[in-house]
Symmetry: C2
Subunit: 404 residues, 2 copies
Amino acid sequence: MKTFECIEGGVTAAQGFRACGVAAGIKYQNRKDMALLAADVPAAVAAVYTTNKVAAAPVQIDRERTRSGRAQAVIVNSGCANACTGETGMANAREMARFAAVALGIDEQLVLVCSTGVIGAHLPMERVAAGAKLAAAALSREGSDDAAHAIMTTDTVDKQVAVELEIDGKTVCIGGMCKGSGMIEPNMATMLGFITTDAVVHPKALDQALREAVDVSFNRVVVDGDRSTNDTVILMASGAAGNQMLTPYHSQWQYFVDALTTVCLELGKKMVLDGEGATKFVTVRVKGARTDEDAQIAARAVSKSALVKTSWFGLDPNWGRVIAAVGYSGADVDDQKTQIYYGDICAYDQGRVADKALLQAMQDVMRKRAFDVTVDLNLGDGEDTVYTCDFSYDYVKINAEYTT
Amino acid sequence: MKTFECIEGGVTAAQGFRACGVAAGIKYQNRKDMALLAADVPAAVAAVYTTNKVAAAPVQIDRERTRSGRAQAVIVNSGCANACTGETGMANAREMARFAAVALGIDEQLVLVCSTGVIGAHLPMERVAAGAKLAAAALSREGSDDAAHAIMTTDTVDKQVAVELEIDGKTVCIGGMCKGSGMIEPNMATMLGFITTDAVVHPKALDQALREAVDVSFNRVVVDGDRSTNDTVILMASGAAGNQMLTPYHSQWQYFVDALTTVCLELGKKMVLDGEGATKFVTVRVKGARTDEDAQIAARAVSKSALVKTSWFGLDPNWGRVIAAVGYSGADVDDQKTQIYYGDICAYDQGRVADKALLQAMQDVMRKRAFDVTVDLNLGDGEDTVYTCDFSYDYVKINAEYTT
């Protein structure tokens, strides 16, 4: 895959988009908690949503609205998830979108809505109304930072990425922001992602590109089956760059998909690095698996094992816990053929345990902020990579003290 | 199900069994780390083993040996799991059983072997040999406490249960011991369980009884798919009570199975209570599910959610995390029909959130050492119960510091 240089600008790096973040007082005091992202004209849109059977009201509305392939704005609040809120919640989500539509003077069907925060609470609609007005007036080409801050919940840093590329001789930007800092695995706080591009892209192709990119990025830090009630990734394409319409038949299609993947992957990595209480960024690679599917389930089992995660926190190259996780993952494994590495150092080699003298070197690997754990099953060509973090005291502290 | 009074005696409560625990110096200093359990005569035996694809050497040997339905002794060590140890490990496990057989003067095929501890290390065979001799000489009718202590790893207390019942006018005992104090979900430290009875039971019936009992006890605190490399539960029946042979056609069969289930369930609960860092014993009941299977996957998802577990530790009745876990479990759920209770207090009632005034009462429920969380899906008659614990700072501490 090509690599791309990152530029500043987040969701407003691409031409044709404005954004802002305002303090609407939804739940938090003295901080921005409402973001608005708007395209100058109706844009092509694609989105992926949580697979959780308990889907929040905004997710249900956006699922319906993004079927058209067109959208012009997204209004987002933090502090209240508007989930498990029944008919009132559905009406409130629609109303929130309508407030934005009226303030922007556009069709309410072109407005999407996202919420993140505590489940079960109703949106304070008067504040939402006032916030939407405030936001519409605050939109600017420089608003990406404010927007990225407004969508945060337990996140400790805002998360933005943008890349620049050339398509048909035109400069194209893809930029995005996201929030989410839950444990990612086995549970996650809500993940919201917003990506914009000024490329001209056919809506159906945009959907395909987003699914391809998400599969190797957000879905490698987040398991579908473990999604929250509100998870959403929305991609809008304004078309302002003036390239020829991108579809899989365009000669630079893959180049565009790679750039989009880069944006999603960098955003996903930022979420892992901001994982609640995380002190380590760990790349779990499984190779030599019977199949890619085997590699994937093995990598995920290792990544979500609380025993493995606490051993990383404790700088303990406990490969026994790693192989035990592979063993119960369902993937084919033969412990007499398996190799396990911390960085480049082999801790377990097909039945032979590394010399005690290497323990220090392995701990040096683990002392780094980011390191790799590689499992070679030596059974075939299947491989997969998952990005994850360790499990520290602070994870417990943050989640024990986060109040309903 | 009938209830049974618990008596003292653990694995030696039943007639025809002797046990002991000795300090063999396998890994730990100054503590008992080898247990021997022996029947006076060859006994009927049944066992269940880990489903982990990486099975330790002793598991592989016992699987083979218990097929005969007969066994007379079990030798167990803590401190070394003899897992991922290849052919040497297999030879060592056989040799460990042989040491016991020689010391006891019985056929080595009648000796089972179990190990628990660190993965990848080889057994120190000279110490194993000396330990086995020591153990054979130390066997006694009062040895259950020593045996129960010798099998512990990170356990903080020994775990023993025994019950007495009457079959065909004869007094029958069923007693057991176990070890295991890992997080249970989603990973577990090795669980070993040893149960003895003096009832006369047909070996095939014994197998059926054990599987029925384990399914609603150990398997309700431990998910099959998440088993360690060494998990084993062995049940031996000496026949010393002299009842008529128990099979499913005996009029008191269900009574016997209920008693066995009681022993397994009480042992399972002791494991949860000794869960690493656990401060709460939580019974998660799911009812009103479309099917029992749905209830089971929902109860397990709630029980293994790190977000839910930390909320219990924090005395936070965060029902939103509970319903989110049910939502991604795969079970059918409609948040507008669901009810969630902490003890008897309804936190969420089909779209309505409990009044803030009840928060204090819910926290009072959670302040207890043991409490129930009930989810009523109101979709059908399916129900299931899982026993679990909370997730505290100490879990991280214990697992970060447990050294390879």
